[in-house]
Amino acid sequence: MPVKLPAATALLLVARTLGAQTAIVYGTVRNVATGVGVANANVFVPGTALKTPSGTDGRYLLRNVPAGQVEIRAVVVGYPPAVRTVLVAAGDSVEVDFDLRGLPAAVDDLQAFTTEPLIVTAAKHSQLLAQAVTSVALVSDTDLARRAVSTVDEAVNRAPGVLFLAGQVNIRGSSGFVEGLGSRVLLLVDGVPANQGDRGGIDWDMVPLAEVAHVEVLKGAGSSLYGSAALGGVVNVITRETPLGFHARIRATGGAYANPPFDVWRFRGGVGALGGLDATASYGQGAVRGSLTLGGRHSDGYREQDRSDQWEMSGKAEWLPQPGTRVTTSGAWTSHQYEVFPTWCVPVPPGTRACDTRGQAFQPFLIDSSGAGSYTRSNKGYLSATLDRTVSSRFSWEARGSWLRTHFTDVNPDDWAVSNRFGGEVRGVSRSPSGRVVTAGVEVARGDVTSDIFGDHTQNQVGMYGEAEGLLGGARVTAGTRIDYLDADSSQATAVLSPRVGAVLTSRIGTWRASAGRGFRAPTLAERFVNTRALGFQVIPNPALHPETAWSFEVGNAAPIASWARLDAALFWTEARQLIEPTFLVDAGGVAKIQIQNVSRARLRGLDASLVVTPFPSLTGTIAYLFLDARDLANDSVLAFRPKQLLTLSVDYRWRMFSVGGDFRYSSRIERIELEPVFGGDPRVAAKVLDLRASWQRGALAARLLVANALNYIYNLVPRTLEPVRTASVVLTWTY
């Protein structure tokens, strides 16, 4: 029998648990050889009546576990028993996974289907998804595996309400497209901020996908806990736990890009290829565990001048000196060299160089020859160390330090930058018998850059935050705030206050959530100090930039509408002020220039809904729909680079060791873009992309086939930049 936890039940469970000084222990019982959940394992606390069977996906949940040090066992026929000892705090919910060695008793064990993960870390401590006051989308380990993708952004790109524009993530239309500068979404790796120290953008290739267990996408302003850049949301990448014993995994990927569907667009004689190989080894014994991943990838690209090569490594070490204490160090390093496709080729205007249009109005697969030879070498990496300590059943704390470094070198045009981001945080979580949870902490960050286009500069940030959750009548209420002090080059500090209030209420028609919060994003060093040329114009610095801010409001409901279907819908409204955007201006000499300024006021509001259905254990489907009304209030126009509608359909069917599935993504035609006088005449279409997948798994071997953009639909989302064509790839995985 699968473990399912309807939202209303979950809330009541937590409320009762909190009041009784007990905790929830949950997790997955897995076959380490296959990575697949083991059904019907008996999970219990010895000497008590606490026990539960694992579901068909291996998941289990034990409630009313007494606070303190607890031994938990998992026993199932065909495997040796597994034992874990953990320290749990009253009211806490703790994940405890069991990795079993041996062969499954029957192939039917492989018929796992996905149920929604229950636990999220949106509030900087583990909590049930139903407790989160803002919307959270989850990309589970199952999603990651079955999509057969190579990078984190490819996996996140199909999450409800999420759309990537040329590598720039948008959550409910948060960022638009600003050439990679200043993401309005914060990336966390195991809770550690990982946006670039100079440009504020996100290097999605920094974390090897092989290391990722699941991804949480927090929607709406998250600055009350996370500070700058969490203006439009937070993407938290959670890496894998290291199991006991020796384990290894090798993954090989190979594939090919389709040629253009029209001969006049062909740009090479053969077929473009892609491939990769990565290997992970881990070992855990007693109090020490560690893992290491090495990998490399190559791609010929799907258009002219689009080759890329990447080498990556990552590692993680854990030390558990005593129950309740964990020291974790982790790091990753990626070296990525890629050719740059500048813009596609259009008929030559007077005064520019020629390009081969072959008599066409535009050539999406060919470059403008002025960008011939452009490439970038991008090295990036991070190191972090975290100390977790559960002092008692009522109090736990965590301290961490991190260092993020990026170094890019562009050729044609020749630019370079080296930046560092040092961060630290101390946080405490207190839980009272009455059910109140208080989270408070201090976070510091220092960024620096040395660059030919950004100069030599530093930026400091200190944030203090506190948030309290408690039961008020039938509702679980959350209130908190954060104050950040920011300065650049030790100039006068700017203070930003980011409060948030929210509530969760269970009713007969589902679990309601409501929240109001303020978010902000500090201008990046690149935005303040950039001095370069773009599109033929001089770009001049603006050290006086202010943080951009936004108030976000949300009302949502999550409800099971049948035993096999669950609907989650939210209305959201964001009022943004002083948005940081590139602006044209004319200097005293009459020369047009570009400067990044606080200019725009914007309003983003809409509906974000998803329906998950599981009519049979072997069949799952999701319909996700986003309606977005995004207005530029300063110009009384549609906000640029925001499609009005975004629809995602997903279906997966599993039969014995085989599974098939697919995604269809529709995003409406982008109504307005920036630089209309330059690019406004280019064609723009709605995006309609069909991805198909199939997999086979037996024992330690698994094979997955992915055909992305199966209909070879040709489209672009940002000016003169073609989105990927049909790409077929096969992923072979061997697990020990």
Partner: protein
Amino acid sequence: MSSRVARAALVAAALACNGGLQPTPAPPSISGIVTYRGAAPDSTQAVYVVAYQTFPHTRDSLFTFQPPVPQPLPLGVATAAYRIPVEPGRYEWVLAVWVKQGFTLANADSTLRETGYYRDPADTSQPGVVDVLTQPATSIDFVIDFGHMHPPCRYYTPPCP
């Protein structure tokens, strides 16, 4: 029945996914690079590239060029790329026209000058014919020589003295 449904679903999916970017023939045009020789006179108002489908042998045909509203070429540089939108057809004369300050339709004979034209590669003493039929004409390169400018009437029948 199920195969019909599957077929209908496939057709629906194909239709739904129709409408991506398609090849679009560029609007007919003549383009190339002009190379300047000499310096533009101080009295220069502008220099344009225009094209005639029929060689203008009379003053009445002087203003039958395309495009009707040409764009000025950049001056003060060694070379310049140009592209002029034209109607599909065969063009007997592609030339650069120098315009003197104070130009009006009435004084065109004294304020306009031919200052260079595309030449027949096989016989460079003759104008080259440019076909703009199925696709734009490219690489229509020629020299603009400010030291050898000629009034329009030189090409009339009969030519001016």
